[in-house]
Structures are given as C-alpha cells and as structure tokens.
Amino acid sequence: MTKTAATRAKLVAVDGVEAPALLAAAKAALAASTPREPAARGGISRWDASGIFQDLEVAEEEAGAASARTLLLLYAADLAFRLRWQIRPALAEGRTVVAAPYVDTAIAFGRAAGLPLNWLANLFRFAPRAGARVVVPAGAAPATAAKDGFVGFASGHLNGGNDPRARQRLITQTAAILARTPPAPRRRRSPRARS
C-alpha cells in the first residue's frame, strides 16, 4: 500500500436497527466520504456477507433456538469474515469502506437482551475502530423497518417468532441504547497474541 492510499483509507461505521434506513445512510456516507474520488470508494460491507444467518434461517426447528449470546457469537464470526474479505482489503487499497451495521448495533442489541457490557466489549475486541461513525435514528415503527436487518432477525429468532410484542420491545430498546451510545470509539486490542 502506498502512503497516499494508506492516508486516504477510511472505515465508516453506520449503525442502526432499521435495514432500509441503514442502507440509505451507508450509501450517503460512502458518497460523502469521497465526493471527488468515486474510484476511492470501496463499497458497503453489509450484515451476513458470510451467509451464516442464512444458514441459520433454514435450520430445522428441532435444532433448538439460539440465545442472544449465541446469536452475537455468530454475528462476531460474520463480522470477522467481513473484515477479512471486504473491509481490510478495501482499506489496504486506500479505499473508503462503510460497515453497515458494524459493532455498536450488535453491542446495543446485546445490552437490550440483558448481556453484560464487558462480555460484549471483549467479544468485538478484534474489530478495528472506525474512523467515523453514523447512528441512524429509529423512525416511528422500528420493529417493522427492522425486518431485514440483524436486529430484526435476532429479535425474531430469540422469541421463536411467537411473541411479536417481545420482539418489538427488544428492537425499540436496542434503538434507544444505540442512540445513547457515546460517539467516542472504544479502544480495542487485537485478540491475536503477541509473539
């Protein structure tokens, strides 16, 4: 990577619970980050690029439902995949890449599901901090708009799809926690051991 490319490379985190609004914000963030250099746009890294959740969707019901912890371990595995194949290669080429959603959405979901913050922070320690962050505020009906995103999927999965009110409550709580998440990026240390 040239010095210029390294300087230009940027990771933008776009977090939120509503899938369509998240995508629109990601497109806007990408365009805004490189207005005069469309060639420097690396693209948008979206949830479930690895297909893990697609596989989960077709699992037999007898396999048993996943808890919030299990879903977040899977989200982290998917994010590790996105970092390896989408985000890091784009950054290495000096491009801007938008991760939508990134870490904060998952942490907010975990908090809404009652998981401790220190466990969540450790889980995502492998993810580099973003150079810029956008939180997409939830609209009037977040549960409906969340349908195709991680939070919508995970909230529905937790309740086995049988309790729409519990699902709605979880989505609303996630959006509220996300809105309160401070903009200062957390300091992260790679889980790769020092040799």
């Binding site: 596989d55 699992a59 048993g64 492998f126 051991a193």
Partner: protein
C-alpha cells in the same frame, strides 16, 4: 436491562443456588486431551460402567450442536475459516449445547459426560495464535465441570495414533496456521503447540491428569477410582451465573 428482567435474573439466581445445594443435582464430567489420546475409548467405557451403576447418563461431544455444526462443517469443507472465525463459531456451538443439552440435563439430575469441553477451544485457539484471555471470555458465563480428566500423551504418540489409520484433516492438522503442505508434518507441529497449551491449562485449572500412555484397562480403573473420590465436590460458585442466565432464558419456570 429492565426492572422486570432484573427481577427475573434475581429469581433465577435464587433458584440456581437452591439447586446447587441439592444432592440430587446432576454431575458434569469432562474428558479432555489431544487427538489420539484415547479419551473417546475411555469415555465409552466410563459411560457403560456408569449406566451399570444406575446413573442416567447424557453424552455431549465437541462441535455437535444441531444448529451450529452444519454451519461450521460447510465452512471447514472449503477451508474458509480464519482463527477468529474458527474460535467464534466453536464458541457458538458450545454455548448452544450448554443451553440446550448440558444445563437441562444437569438440572434434571443427570450425569453429563462431555467428550471435550471448553478447554479444547482454549487449547486449539491459543495454539492458533489467539489470546487466552479473549478466548476464555468468549465462553462466559463459565460452566465448570465437577471433574476434568485430562488424557496426557506426547506429541509423538498422538501423531502416531492419529496417522496410523487416517490422514489428519486440514484444520485438525492446523494447516491454516502452520503453512505446511504435508498434513502429517503439519499435524506434528500443531499438536505439539496444542499439547503445550493443554499442559498449561491442566495446571491453571487443576485437571486430573490420566497417563494416556498406560493400557486401556489401567486408565479405566484409574478413572473409576478418581470419579468415586471426586464426584461429591461442591459446585464452583462460578456456575451460578451460567445457570441463572439459562434459567432466566427459560423464564425461571423450572
């Protein structure tokens, strides 16, 4: 967390504490060790003996969650996993089995034999270059077995036993991290690292070490004796969080 959620968790902790003190609670026995250490043979013999003694036995194996195993299997087949993805997916598989198989059986007073437990994840992931603290915390809230039998063999014995009948698979041989093309040579290097990690864990977590270079009959006799001596240990207090969280997932209805 809402007030009603907190109240549910408090109720669950109270229930879990009561169950700890109950002599009819289940027992969790883990069999750990490198490939080729003979632990599966011993696990089967142990299970047969326990059943003859009247125990209600449930077995759970590493990487066997009905929900997660297919996800891991398809990605292993195309050699698509980084060390972090490998670690996180096995952590998800473990968590799912804890919630769906292990804790329900223990709550019902059964004896659970785990053919590999979270220490397998720790040893392999650290051998792949990941930080022990990060990996250990993935497995929180920790569920601590009543007994951990560690089947100790040398890297040479493990290599001989594994390669006598088959070629080690790509990840089993650690080829994702050794960069060695020959699976046998890669296995020898990787298993030496895994065994080194196991030996550290055995000291830190106080495993019961079984000399797996002994005869099958000698090992089995030793395991029976150790089980009879050790099975009445009190449960680790660390288990309270794991049990309470599982109970609250189930609405503390049990």
């Amino acid at each position: 967390m809402s007030l009603s959620d907190q109240a549910a968790l408090q109720r669950a902790r109270k229930l879990a504490r009561r169950r700890f003190a109950d002599p009819t609670r289940g027992l969790l026995v883990a069999f750990e060790g490198p490939d080729g250490s003979g632990k599966t043979t011993q696990r089967k013999l142990f299970k047969t003996w326990l059943k003859s003694e009247g125990y209600d036995v449930v077995t759970t194996k590493w990487n066997s969650s009905a929900l997660i195993k297919p996800i891991i299997k398809s990605r292993k087949a195309v050699r698509a996993l980084s060390p972090e993805e490998f670690s996180l997916l096995h952590g998800a598989d473990f968590r799912h089995r804890v919630e769906q198989v292990i804790l329900p059986a223990l709550w019902d007073g059964k004896l659970v034999i785990a053919d590999r437990f979270l220490f397998t994840g720790l040893a392999r992931d650290v051998a792949r270059g990941l930080d022990l603290d990060w990996v250990l915390r993935l497995y929180q809230p920790l569920l601590w077995p009543d007994l951990v039998f560690y089947f100790a063999v040398s890297p040479v014995t493990s290599g001989k036993r594994v390669t006598a009948t088959r070629m080690p698979s790509f990840y089993e041989a650690g080829q994702d991290v050794t960069d060695v093309d020959d699976p046998v040579e890669s296995y020898q290097r990787f298993i030496a690292r895994v065994i080194r990690e196991y030996e550290s864990l055995a000291l830190i977590f106080n495993f019961i070490t079984v000399d797996a270079e002994q005869s099958i009959a000698e090992q089995h006799r030793q395991i029976r004796d150790l089980f009879l001596d050790g099975k009445r240990r009190p449960w680790s207090r660390w288990n309270l969080d794991a049990v309470a969280e599982w109970l609250s997932l189930n609405g503390a209805r049990r």
